[in-house]
Structure formats: structure tokens, C-alpha cells
């Protein structure tokens, strides 16, 4: 207890530093999920992608990141066990951050795809269950989280399948695909805008100080979606088409229209990613700050400190700015054969799923939803070839991440206890 009083500010500083480091890792690593496809299909240049990613990741983190943060902060662990030993919770959360960030770094160096969400959840379970006692973990809640990792890829797969099929029916399988594309693509933009706006309004604006009622929320969301669609329509109108294109090349023109849509879905994806994944970095930090600020008391309802969300947002943006372009460059070359018309369905579905799930407060894995969505488009015969071997490896790396995260966090937790106690 007195540790918290004497070293409180030091601990908060440490937690903030590691949290920032973790956010930075998330920005550097996962940016590709959001932007890779657009750069790969030449819808955006790398520079544009970075700028868009920065704006939307930050907006997502700041406006819609609160919900998941509270789950990471309070949901996984039953705080009542720590009433007498709040310092253990503080050490644990810092260790969890350390562990997850370290594992992210190692995986990045080795080029393994890991899920930031998995690593932080694994780390928190690790220190609580093995470092303290298995009873401290809210296993019901954890089961829910793990269940969501299975359910969300399925959901995004189904959504992607439906979106791609609808695009086929409305656009590709018609006499004039280009005319149809010009007509219907704005509606897909509307859908994207609507989902994002709705979640932001419903979940995000509370802590910014705006409280909007349900009906009003829907009205605003619809307004935003219409504005998005109009902007999209304007850009589609400005496109120059090769009018003389023969029957064989008309799909090239259709792709141009979809490229505009791709930019919108990339924004969605960045926003969704920011809102969901920022919590992985700042959830534990928020827990530490909450305990220290209350002088060691674990209070059920502490508001998120005002500086925490922006810190996470800036962390992600910093990671993007420094490493993002390198990551995107490698990706962009890799998936040039993914055309906008196929990529948009996967991205839109993944973004919707993440955003909806963030709204429920479940920390889901962005990578997982995207892989699920890609498989969904594949099922709808929208992708030329999916490498199932790689998909298997990704799944394996997810599974491995949990015990590794847990192990590392136990290790750091033991060290911290030794140092401070």
C-alpha cells in the first residue's frame, strides 16, 4: 500500500512509457491491416495512406476507444481480490504491458503475425492466474472474449460474403457494369459511413462531453452517411474513363470506381482499428492510473483520465509515422493482384465487425476479423487464390501468443515484485 503512495508517480510514469511503447508497436505493426490493401491495389499512394491512417486511427482511438479500454481494464480480472493488495494489480498491469510489448517486438523482428489483442489478454490472464491466484481471473468474461475470437471472424466472413455477392448481383453481373458501379458504389460508402458514425455517436462521444439520445444518434448517423456518399459521388464523377475501352477492358474502368470506395473502406478500417486496438495499450495503463490516483483504493467507477486516450492515439500515430511506410511498402508490393472490387468487401466487412464488437466492449482481434473477411470473399469466389498454408500459420501464431504472453508477464511480474517489495 505505502509503495503506491511513495512510488505512485514513478509507477504511473513507467506504465505510461510502456503503454506508449505498446501503442507505438500497434501502430507500426497493424497499420498494414488497414492500409495494405488500398496501397496494394494502387488506390492510394503510401504517403496518402499514412496521412489517412494517422487521422482515422487517432479519431478511432480518441472517439470510440473508451469502451474496449474498460473491458481490458476491469473485465478480465475480478478486482475484488486485489482490495488488500492493490500494488499487485499495479505491478501486474505494468508487467502485462511489458510482456505484450516485448512479444510484439520479438514477433515483429521475426516477421510473425501476432494479434495485439491476444498478447495483452494473455498477459493479463498470465500474471493474475499464475502470479496471484486463478480465482482472480473473471473466467466467464475471458470465455466471452475467447469466444468472440471465434465468432467475430465468422461474422465478418459472412458479412464479406454478403457484400461481395451483392456487388456481383448489382454491378458485375449486368449489361453495363460501369454504369451500375457509378450508381451503387455510393451506397456502399453510405453503409460504411453509417456504421462508423453510429458507433462513434453511441459509444464515443460521451467522454468528449457530448451525450446524444438514441433517435438523434440515428439521425446524425444517417446525415453523416449521406454526406460520405455525396463526397464519394463527387470523386467518382471526377474520374476519367477510357470511353473507347473494348468489351474486354470494361472491368478496368469499374475498378477505378471501386478504388474510390476502397479509400473510404480503408478509412473505416483505420478508424475501427484505432477504436479497438488502442485499448490493448492503454487499458492496463488506465487501470494503473486509476489505482494510484485513488491512493490505492480500487474503485469500481473511475472515469478514464483525460490524457490516457490521446496518449494511446499519439502512440499509434507515432508508430505509423516512423515505421508505417516501410510496412506498407512491403505489403503494397505483395498484393497487387488484389483488385479494389475484391478488397473493399473484405475491408468493409472487417471494419463493420470490429466497430460493432468494439461497441459491445469486447476486445477482438482486428487481424482475425480481416482474415475471416478475406476468407468470406474467397468463398464468394472473389479472390483468385488464398494461401491456406499461410492462414494456418496465422491461426497457429494466434494460439501461441496466449501462453507466450502469459509466460512473459509472469516473468516480469516476479521481477517487479522483487524490485519494489
Amino acid at each position: 500500500m505505502d509503495i503506491l503512495l511513495s512510488h505512485g508517480s514513478v509507477l504511473v510514469l513507467i506504465a505510461a512509457a510502456v503503454g506508449f511503447f505498446m501503442a507505438w508497436g500497434i501502430g507500426a505493426n497493424d497499420v498494414a491491416n488497414a492500409m495494405g490493401t488500398s496501397v496494394g491495389s494502387k488506390a492510394l499512394t503510401i504517403k496518402q495512406a499514412i496521412i489517412i491512417a494517422m487521422v482515422f486511427e487517432f479519431a478511432g482511438a480518441y472517439l470510440a476507444g473508451g469502451e474496449v479500454t474498460s473491458t481490458i481494464r476491469k473485465g478480465i480480472i475480478d478486482a475484488s481480490y486485489f482490495v488488500d493488495t492493490p500494488e499487485l494489480l499495479v505491478f501486474g498491469m505494468i508487467s502485462a504491458l511489458f510482456a505484450a510489448a516485448t512479444w510484439l517486438l520479438i514477433a515483429s523482428i521475426l516477421g510473425w503475425p501476432v494479434s495485439t489483442t491476444h498478447s495483452i489478454v494473455g498477459a493479463i490472464i498470465g500474471f493474475a492466474a499464475f502470479g496471484v491466484s486463478p480465482d482472480t481471473v473473471a473466467w466467464g468474461k475471458v470465455l466471452g472474449i475467447v469466444g468472440s475470437w471465434i465468432v467475430t471472424p465468422l461474422i465478418s466472413g459472412v458479412i464479406a460474403f454478403l457484400i461481395f455477392n451483392s456487388a456481383q448481383k448489382l454491378i458485375f453481373d449486368t449489361d453495363h457494369p460501369l454504369k451500375q458501379a457509378k450508381r451503387y458504389v455510393p451506397f456502399y460508402m453510405m453503409l460504411a459511413g453509417f456504421v462508423l458514425a453510429l458507433v462513434t455517436i453511441k459509444k464515443g462521444l460521451k467522454h468528449v462531453g457530448l451525450d446524444i439520445g438514441a433517435t438523434e444518434g440515428y439521425i446524425y448517423a444517417i446525415a453523416v452517411s449521406v454526406i460520405v456518399a455525396l463526397i464519394g459521388k463527387f470523386f467518382i464523377g471526377r474520374l476519367k474513363f477510357d470511353e473507347k475501352a473494348s468489351k474486354n477492358d470494361h472491368y478496368a474502368n469499374v475498378e477505378k470506381v471501386f478504388a474510390v470506395l476502397m479509400v473510404v473502406t480503408a478509412c473505416c478500417m483505420a478508424f475501427a482499428h484505432g477504436s479497438n486496438d488502442v485499448a490493448n495499450a492503454i487499458g492496463p495503463l488506465a487501470a494503473v492510473v486509476g489505482i494510484v490516483d485513488n491512493g490505492g483504493e480500487i474503485v469500481k467507477k473511475t472515469p478514464l483520465a483525460w490524457w490516457i486516450l490521446p496518449l494511446g492515439g499519439f502512440g499509434i500515430v507515432a508508430g505509423l509515422a516512423i515505421f508505417g511506410h516501410r510496412v506498407i511498402a512491403t505489403i503494397g508490393k505483395g498484393i497487387t493482384h488484389l483488385t479494389p472490387s475484391r478488397g473493399f468487401a473484405a475491408e468493409l466487412a472487417a471494419a463493420c465487425t470490429v466497430v460493432i464488437a468494439s461497441g459491445t466492449g469486447l476486445p477482438i482481434s482486428t487481424t482475425q476479423t480481416l482474415v475471416g473477411a478475406v476468407l468470406g470473399v474467397g468463398m464468394a469466389r472473389g479472390i483468385a487464390a488464398i494461401n491456406m498454408g499461410v492462414v494456418r500459420n496465422i491461426v497457429v501464431s494466434w494460439v501461441i501468443t496466449l501462453p507466450v504472453g502469459a509466460g512473459l508477464s509472469i516473468f516480469f511480474f516476479t521481477i517487479m515484485k522483487a524490485v519494489f517489495a
Partner: protein, 226 residues
């Protein structure tokens, strides 16, 4: 730097190389026209040069074929059946092999097409090559087919092409019957062994169209399963 997980999920599309392959095959067949023109002139050095070019194209097609086979590991999840795709590739490759055989055989024996049937033979050869070209056009639609998910209008378009291919093949059959008949009328005037080989060459040229039709058939199977 981290290689993103999503990147590896997208395997290289097999469709583009398949199209490239059939283009190469038709290019190879097209060499038969200058080849037989040189033979008619009895210009064997030029004929040898053209055969070399043809054989080089056939080898390139082989290299591409091998590469494609290696690029299609079993773990790929594709909108088309992998076995169908490889079968299609094998059929495509047979066309080039046949063209190479024809050129090799004719040059090896310095076989001349008799004056009386030369014009008829040229038309026949051209028609057989047309079949290969038509097959290439149909294969060329594959990426658009993928775009539409093997549905609706695009499929009809390809079905039409395959029907046209069948018609061309029918044409070549009729031409072949006539050509063989006309050769029979003059076969006593030429060396019997040459005559035997001429019959064989006529048959082989006809095989070009048959094989092209088979490519169409494989493509149809590929579409039918979807």
C-alpha cells in the same frame, strides 16, 4: 520489419500466367505459317530458322507451365478447382508440343506439300490455327469470369466462344476430309513414303484444332462446376 500476416494470405493468382501461357502457345502455332511458306519455297535454311524460333517458344511455354504447376500448391483455396486448372494447362501445352512435332517432322524429311494441294493446305492450316486463337480468347476471359464469380453474362460470353471454337473445329474436319481426298488423287505422282508422311502431317495439323477444342471443353468443365 514485420511482414504483415494479411500479406501472405493472398497467393498469386493462377489466372494471369494461364492466359500468358495460352498466348505463348498460339504464338508458337502461328510460326507454322511462315514455316510452311518457307517449305513451299524450298528455302530450307529459313525453314530451319523458323523451326528454331518455334521450338524456343515451345520451351518458354514449358518453363511457364512448370512454374505454374509449382505455384499451385495443394493448400490454395481457389474459386476454381485446382485439378481442373492443371488439366487445362496440360491441354494448352499439348497444342504447342504438336506444333513443334509438325515442324520437326516436316523439316527432318524436307517434306514438300505438292503444288496441287498447297493452297488448300494453307487454308486448312490457317483454320486450325484459328481454333487455337479462339481457345486463347476464351481463356483470356477467365479473369473477367473471376470478377463476376462465374456467373451470368460473362459465362454466356465464354459459352459462345466455346461454341464458335467447336464450329471452327468442325470446319477443319470437313477441310481435312477434302484435303485427304485430293491428296489421294495425286498420291501416285509422289514418293510413297512422302505420301504416307503427308497424310500424317495433315492429321497432325488437324490435331491442333482438336486440342484447341479440348481446351475449350476443359474450360467448360471448369465453369460447369461453379
Amino acid at each position: 520489419m514485420a511482414r504483415n500476416s494479411i500479406l501472405g494470405v493472398f497467393a498469386k493468382s493462377p489466372i494471369k500466367p494461364l492466359e500468358k501461357h495460352i498466348r505463348m502457345v498460339t504464338k508458337c502455332c502461328n510460326q507454322l505459317i511462315p514455316f510452311f511458306a518457307a517449305c513451299a519455297e524450298q528455302d530450307w535454311t529459313t525453314a530451319a530458322k523458323v523451326r528454331k524460333k518455334l521450338s524456343k517458344l515451345e520451351q518458354d511455354a514449358d518453363v511457364l507451365k512448370r512454374k505454374l504447376r509449382l505455384e499451385l500448391p495443394g493448400g490454395l483455396f481457389m474459386p476454381v478447382d485446382r485439378a481442373d486448372l492443371l488439366e487445362l494447362l496440360t491441354q494448352q501445352d499439348k497444342i504447342a508440343n504438336k506444333a513443334k512435332d509438325i515442324a520437326g517432322r516436316v523439316l527432318g524429311r524436307k517434306l514438300e506439300i505438292p503444288e496441287a494441294i498447297q493452297e488448300q493446305f494453307s487454308a486448312y492450316l490457317q483454320r486450325c490455327i484459328d481454333a487455337a486463337e479462339k481457345a486463347a480468347d476464351a481463356i483470356n476471359e477467365l479473369d473477367d469470369l473471376l470478377e463476376t464469380g462465374f456467373r451470368g453474362r460473362e459465362v454466356e460470353l465464354v459459352e459462345n466462344m466455346i461454341n464458335q471454337l467447336d464450329e471452327i473445329e468442325n470446319d477443319t474436319d470437313t477441310m481435312q476430309v477434302e484435303l485427304r481426298h485430293d491428296l489421294m488423287l495425286i498420291e501416285n505422282t509422289i514418293n510413297p513414303i512422302d505420301a504416307m508422311f503427308l497424310y500424317q502431317i495433315i492429321e497432325w495439323v488437324g490435331d491442333l484444332a482438336d486440342l484447341a477444342e479440348r481446351v475449350g471443353a476443359r474450360l467448360e468443365i471448369l465453369l460447369a462446376r461453379n
